[in-house]
């Protein structure tokens, strides 16, 4: 095995330290090197996916310590799938932002790039690590990058959003640490597989208290209501590629962490219902908050929160099909919301205003971007024949399998709310009376490539979902097959 | 106050009021009977059978359009209703000129009204007849010296039957209608034809008194 999971983490770290040096050699190094690293991550992902398809899952231990004691990185079909998705989306977002960053005001490109790269690398770390404390570390890496990026514009609102994010993020880390503390005292280990193995022996009360700390801490990362106060502010104030990253990468990592803890480590009854209810509340509140937003990115942010709520609902249902739907939705949401943020950022760029009001008739200035936005809007609502439809469809079917009639109706009613505000925006873009001067900022070629690749994904998967479905299915299987996971990790000798 | 001036004024009024001999002569020329022979539709002698029947139907089915000017309008209800019952002659009220055969001018006509009357008459369809009520339509009657009332209807529209009186009672009206029926049967009630034939003359007279002339150019039916 030439490429191991550790490359995911090592490459960005090396690059992060190397960039300040390389920048002396070439001034564009800060922009190019992260691209190379992210692309390397994509290669690693694809290689690893290929590898596990042949040889089964990989558990790589660091520093020579065996699995329960040392830190290990695990690539199962599930984590591999998410890591692949995150790395590919991260690369596309980098591609999109390649030229974008020239126009950053008040920030310095090299810091931006390093932070962005660290955020993506940290997310991948969250996904592939098999150690609970290591996960905490990666969460903090992502967190610190994210706080900084939120406040990157050094503007009035940016700093405010960053501070809020930081405040809530501080709580998250504190509670996560407390949770880890309790678990550690009870099981005496930090390896997730081993914790899971020893979990039956833990007293019920301690288990639940620990679980609650985890749920709150990771719920903050996963943008669960009422812990998501930071999310709309952070999404809307961060630079647009970062917003896309939040939606496509960070929230995926957050949800992953929550799911990994809930599904693998604990075996508490009722947590499924908890996820379902909180997911639904999250979705509902987020969507009804989104409907009257006046700020485009803030609207998209609430929409992201809503989608995460739907993901949580699906995980809460917990059946194989539901998990399948949830993973599919995470993928779709990552792709589509990235596309929406990318397109939206060009709108904002051209209007110098984040208000939805000022999008009137903008399609004449930016026909292609508008098209992408409309496509994204239709896809995220779940219109066939776009990819968003299939994930929603499978989630609904899985809910129906469990006879959750009202849940289905609730989801669909919330979708109608979602549809309303998205179509209002699309309507404005295409059909409102246009004001103002002609386009000043046409989308650059790399941005177009990034966006069209995402759009292509939406359409192709929408028309022919079989391309991706086997991978998601095996990912879902891997997630649900807990005993296999434990066994494999504890028995793998490196 | 100067007596002379007063007398002068009075005499001036007089000269306006009472027509001089010359004026009367001129009026007689204007009154020239345009429609006695030229207006004939068909003589009784030359009538064919079809025409006879048609005239019979026409005379017994007179749809009247009562142009209620002046005091004569009040006589029409009496004529039509139970006491005098003109319906037994086949008379019947018509609401619009399109359906009407007979135009009843029931009294004096101001120049403003004349315009409407002409319009209404022209919208009626041939054969059409005009019955003029009372002295006012013959010679102006008590309005003979009014500045805005026409004196002789005959100058502006072809009148088939005049009914004298001020106002004529329903008996006279019925008498006039019977007269008209006779004229129709004999083929002598040719007002419409006369009007068409002498349109220029009528137009000239009409345009003399009607100031804001805005009729369509052609007499198109």
């Amino acid at each position: 095995m030439v490429i191991t999971p550790v490359h995911y983490i090592v490459a960005p770290l090396i690059a992060a330290f190397a960039i300040p040096l390389l920048i002396k050699i070439h001034k564009d190094a800060a922009r190019i090197v992260p691209g190379i690293v992210l692309f390397y991550n994509v290669i690693v992902s694809l290689f690893l996916m290929n590898h596990i398809a042949e040889h089964g899952m990989i558990s790589e231990t660091l520093a020579g310590w065996q699995a329960p004691w040392g830190i290990n990185l695990v690539v199962t079909p599930f984590t591999g799938f998410l890591a692949t998705m995150v790395s590919i989306l991260g690369f596309i977002i980098w591609l999109y932002g390649y030229r974008f960053k020239r126009t950053l005001k008040g920030g310095e490109v090299k810091y931006y790039e390093i932070l962005q790269m660290m955020m993506i690398a940290g997310s991948i770390g969250i996904i592939i690590t098999g150690d609970i404390f290591n996960m905490f570390v990666f969460i903090e890496i992502v967190g610190i990058s994210a706080f900084s990026l939120t406040a990157f514009y050094r503007s009035r609102d940016g700093a405010e959003a960053g501070f809020k994010y930081l405040l809530i993020g501080g709580f998250a880390s504190a509670f996560l640490l407390l949770g880890i503390l309790i678990i550690y005292t009870q099981t005496g280990t930090l390896n997730m597989a081993q914790i899971a193995e020893r979990m039956p022996d833990v007293p019920q009360q301690m288990k639940i208290v620990a679980l609650i700390f985890f749920l709150v801490a990771l719920g903050i990362e996963a943008e669960m209501f009422p812990l998501n106060g930071w999310a709309p502010d952070a999404y809307s104030q961060a630079p647009s590629p970062t917003s896309a990253t939040f939606a496509a990468v960070v929230s995926v990592a957050g949800v992953y962490a929550l799911i990994r803890v809930v599904f693998t480590m604990f075996d508490v009854e009722g947590v499924n219902n908890y996820l379902m209810v909180m997911g639904f509340v999250t979705m509902l509140i987020a969507e009804i908050a989104a409907i009257s937003q006046k700020d485009l990115k803030r609207m998209l942010a609430y929409s992201s929160v809503g989608q995460v709520g739907l993901v949580l609902i699906a995980f809460g249902i917990g059946s194989n099909l539901a998990v399948f739907g949830a993973l599919f939705l995470m993928l779709n949401h990552g792709v589509i919301k990235s596309l929406l943020f990318m397109a939206g950022s060009y709108f904002i760029y051209n209007t110098d205003d984040k208000k939805i009001k000022s999008l009137n008739g903008i399609y004449k200035k930016l026909p292609i971007v508008s098209f992408f936005f409309a496509l994204g809007a239709l896809a995220i609502i779940g219109f066939p024949p776009f990819s968003g439809f299939w994930s929603k469809f499978y989630i609904l079917i899985s809910a129906a399998d469990e006879k959750y009639v009202f849940l289905i109706i609730g989801i669909l009613l919330v979708t109608i709310i979602e549809l309303t505000y998205y179509l209002r925006v699309v309507g404005r873009i295409y059909f409102a009376k246009q004001e103002g001067e002609p386009a000043s900022h046409k989308p650059s070629i790399n941005a177009l490539v990034a966006m069209s690749s995402l759009a292509l994904f939406i359409i192709v998967i929408g028309v022919y979902p079989d391309l991706i479905m086997p991978h998601i299915q095996s990912a879902a299987d891997a997630l649900l097959d807990k005993s296999n996971y434990i066994q494999q990790i504890l028995s793998i000798k490196n | 106050m100067d007596n002379n001036k007063n007398i002068e004024q009075v005499s001036k009024i007089k000269t306006i009021g009472i027509p001089t001999q010359e004026e009367i002569k001129q009026a007689q020329i204007d009154f020239s009977p345009r429609c006695t022979s030229a207006g004939r539709v068909n003589d009784k002698e030359t009538q064919k059978m079809v025409e006879y029947i048609m005239n019979f139907a026409r005379k017994h089915s007179l749809f009247v359009l009562a142009y209620g000017t002046g005091c004569g309008a009040i006589e029409i209800p009496a004529t039509m209703t139970s006491r005098y019952d003109a319906e037994r002659f086949g008379m019947r009220g018509a609401a619009t000129p399109r359906q009407a055969d007979v135009l009843l001018i029931t009294g004096y006509l101001s120049t403003k009204t004349l315009k409407r009357v002409i319009r209404v008459y022209e919208q009626m369809q041939d054969p059409k007849y005009v019955i003029a009520f009372g002295s006012c339509t013959i010679n102006g009657g008590m309005y003979f010296d009014s500045y805005n009332t026409i004196n002789a209807l005959d100058r502006y529209l072809p009148v088939d039957v005049y009914i004298a009186g001020c106002m004529p009672r329903p008996e006279s009206v019925i008498n006039g209608i019977v007269k008209l029926q006779g004229l129709i049967q004999n083929g002598n009630a040719g007002g419409g034809k006369c009007y068409k034939d002498n349109l220029d003359w009528y137009r000239e007279n009409q345009q003399k008194v009607i100031k804001n002339w805005d009729f369509p150019d052609d007499y198109n039916w």
Binding site: I208, I212, L412 | -
Partner: protein, 616 residues
């Protein structure tokens, strides 16, 4: 390659191509779209045998496409109307912007509609249904919607409610009956209103919304009237019929006679909803002053009749519904085209602004006249056949005696707006501004005239439509559907001989027309509309004495209680209250970081306090 896929591909390629061609030459777009739809129609009419189907797998689901006689019937309407509408569109849309967008969406809509009728499983049905919906949404908001917020989105929201109701039903069919094939679901009794009653109800809800049934009809008038007219012909003529298609499909199990008594209440409710829709549509149509809006409300009413026909569940009733489906597409298509022609030539369809176009656009008027006669359900034009079938179905075969009176009331009141339309646009005094209006161009006239001829012929020889309709009925479960080429027979054996009626009317027409024309021909004058007997007054050139405002005020006063029930207002209030309610919840996000932190802590405490309740 499968022939259905080829047709879909033609439409898809056409859609993209027109979209692209627009950037080179906007004039070619219309012709391209027309040619592509023609090609698809030709392939469809010549290549596809009835009963054709093919199966494939997608996303782990067994899908099946094909054509039964039933779907074939609707496909006729779709392709026939599409070709005519696109031909009409070439000139109608000339000079407007964004033609590529318009025609691209147009072809996509056709694709969606065709997809709906060929789908033999629920997933493809839903997919095509949604394609149809959003493609048509793009067209509804085409006409530079400055009020997207209220109008176009209203259509979309209602469509979405319908679509999601359908989706719910589909999901449950999958779960309870473990199938996604429509025929299998029917065979397993999924629509039986017995065990899982919400399945057929949700499906009916979905389809009824597309068919604009009360109380979900409020999207229809504005959507119909605000779209470009060439699209509205399809919208009201073919697309709203997809709802009818679906309702028929759901009712198949009734028609199969598995247990008709059980469905009595469903049919009664639906029938009454249809009847009330017809009444509401009609009474609102007759107070409109915009011709397009009038026609839009009229469409709502006509769809109400169709739903009534479907709900009877008897042979004549279904025949009535299917016949009305076609004939409504024909005459309403023609009428929308007329409205479009007037809009194009005279600039507006506001009846208070134009009048007396008959001398300017005689051919258009002729089409309008015949279509209006059909709309009013007068013999000898096709509309009468539909009305006859409907009444006879209700009286002789169904037990809805009061419903028939409701329907009759609606169709009698339809005379009012029928007249209003003709009078408002074509009759009355000539407006000074419309003196220079020209007759519509030939490519717009041809489709209109074709539709007019269909309307006339179908009045005399309705068997031409009965034949496929009877086949379609057999496909959804009726047996031994009888029909005659040119006469109508009800259950009690009473006949109405349409051929004879048409001949008689024709003969009398010729005789009286010749008589009245030749009699006194020389003395007959044709005069203008200013030459009227208005108490001796002469209307001025600038005066328009046409009576256009509050046209049916006496009726309005008499039927005031009916007008007080305004569904639109109810929905609007609901929407506004909901938004206000949402606004309240939105306030949870106070913007204060400390509050958010407090939320976190409170949430934690709550979880800890109720941990035994939540996590057992």
């Amino acid at each position: 390659m499968e022939i259905i896929a080829i047709i879909l591909l033609i439409l898809l390629v056409g859609s993209m191509l027109t979209f692209l061609i627009d950037s080179f030459s906007s004039k070619l777009t219309g012709i391209t779209a027309f040619l592509f739809s023609l090609a698809a129609s030709v392939v469809f009419f010549t290549q596809i045998p009835s009963g054709y189907q093919f199966k494939f797998q997608l996303a782990g689901l067994d899908l099946q496409w094909g054509l039964t006689d039933y779907s074939y019937y609707f496909a006729y309407i779709i392709f026939g109307m599409s070709v005519l509408a696109l031909l009409y569109s070439i000139k109608y849309m000339e000079g407007k912007g964004r033609l590529g967008y318009f025609y691209g969406s147009f072809l996509l809509t056709i694709l969606g509609m065709f997809g709906v009728v060929i789908s033999q499983d629920f997933v493809s049905l839903f997919i095509f249904w949604e394609i149809m919906t959003w493609a048509s949404f793009l067209l509804v908001i085409y006409n530079a919607y400055y009020k997207v917020k209220t109008k176009g989105v209203k259509y979309m929201i209602f469509s979405a409610i319908g679509a999601y109701a359908m989706l719910t039903a589909i999901v449950f069919i999958r779960v309870h009956y473990d199938t996604l094939l429509i025929s299998e679901a029917i065979a397993k009794g999924a629509f039986n209103f017995e065990q899982y009653i919400y399945i057929p109800i949700f499906l009916l809800l979905g389809f009824s919304i597309k068919a604009a049934v009360m109380p979900f009809h409020v999207w229809a008038p504005s959507a119909y009237s605000k779209s470009p007219m060439s699209f509205t012909t399809i919208f009201s003529g073919a697309m709203s019929k997809m709802g009818v298609f679906g309702i028929g499909l759901v009712f198949t199990s009734i028609y199969l006679g598995t247990n008709p008594e059980n469905f009595y209440w469903v049919r009664t409710i639906l029938g009454w909803l249809g009847g009330i829709t017809a009444v509401m549509g009609t009474i609102y149509a007759l107070i409109q002053t915009d011709a397009k809006k009038l026609l839009a409300y009229s469409s709502v009413a006509q769809l109400g009749y169709i739903v009534v026909g479907l709900s009877t569940g008897t042979k004549l009733g279904i025949m009535a519904a299917l016949y009305l489906t076609v004939i409504h597409a024909v005459f309403k298509g023609a009428l929308f085209m007329v409205a479009g022609a007037v809009e194009k030539q005279a600039g507006t369809t506001d009846m208070t602004k134009i009048s007396g176009l008959i001398r300017r656009m005689p051919w258009t008027f002729l089409v309008a006249l015949v279509s209006i006669i059909a709309l009013a359900g007068m013999p000898p034009v096709g509309g009468f056949v539909g009305k006859w079938l409907l009444y006879e179905a209700l009286i002789t075969e169904s037990n809805n005696y009061i419903l028939v009176v409701v329907v009759f009331f609606s169709s009698t009141a339809a005379f009012l707006y029928s007249y209003r339309f003709l009078y408002g646009l074509f009759l009355g005094q000539e407006e000074k501004d419309t003196k220079d209006v020209k007759e519509a161009p030939i490519t717009m006239l041809i489709p209109m005239l074709i539709l007019m001829i269909i309307a006339i012929v179908s009045g005399a020889v309705p068997g031409l439509i009965f034949e496929p309709a009877a086949k379609a009925m057999e496909a959804i479960g009726f047996q031994d559907v009888t029909w005659q080429m040119s006469s109508l027979t009800n259950l009690w054996g009473d006949t109405t001989n349409l051929g004879l009626i048409s001949m008689l009317i024709g003969a009398v027409f010729v005789i009286v027309f010749v008589f009245i024309t030749l009699k006194g021909y020389k003395n007959t004058k044709d005069v203008g509309t200013k030459d009227i007997s208005t108490s001796g007054e002469i209307p001025k050139e600038w005066e328009n004495l046409s009576f256009q405002q509050d046209f049916f005020q006496p009726f309005q006063r008499a039927a005031a209680p009916l007008y007080s029930m305004n569904m639109n207002k109810i929905w609007k209030n609901l929407g506004e209250n909901l938004e206000a309610f949402f606004g309240f919840f939105r306030k949870l996000y106070t913007g204060n970081g400390q509050t958010y932190a407090l939320y976190v802590v409170i949430f934690l405490v709550v979880l800890l306090l109720f941990k035994d309740v939540i996590f057992s």
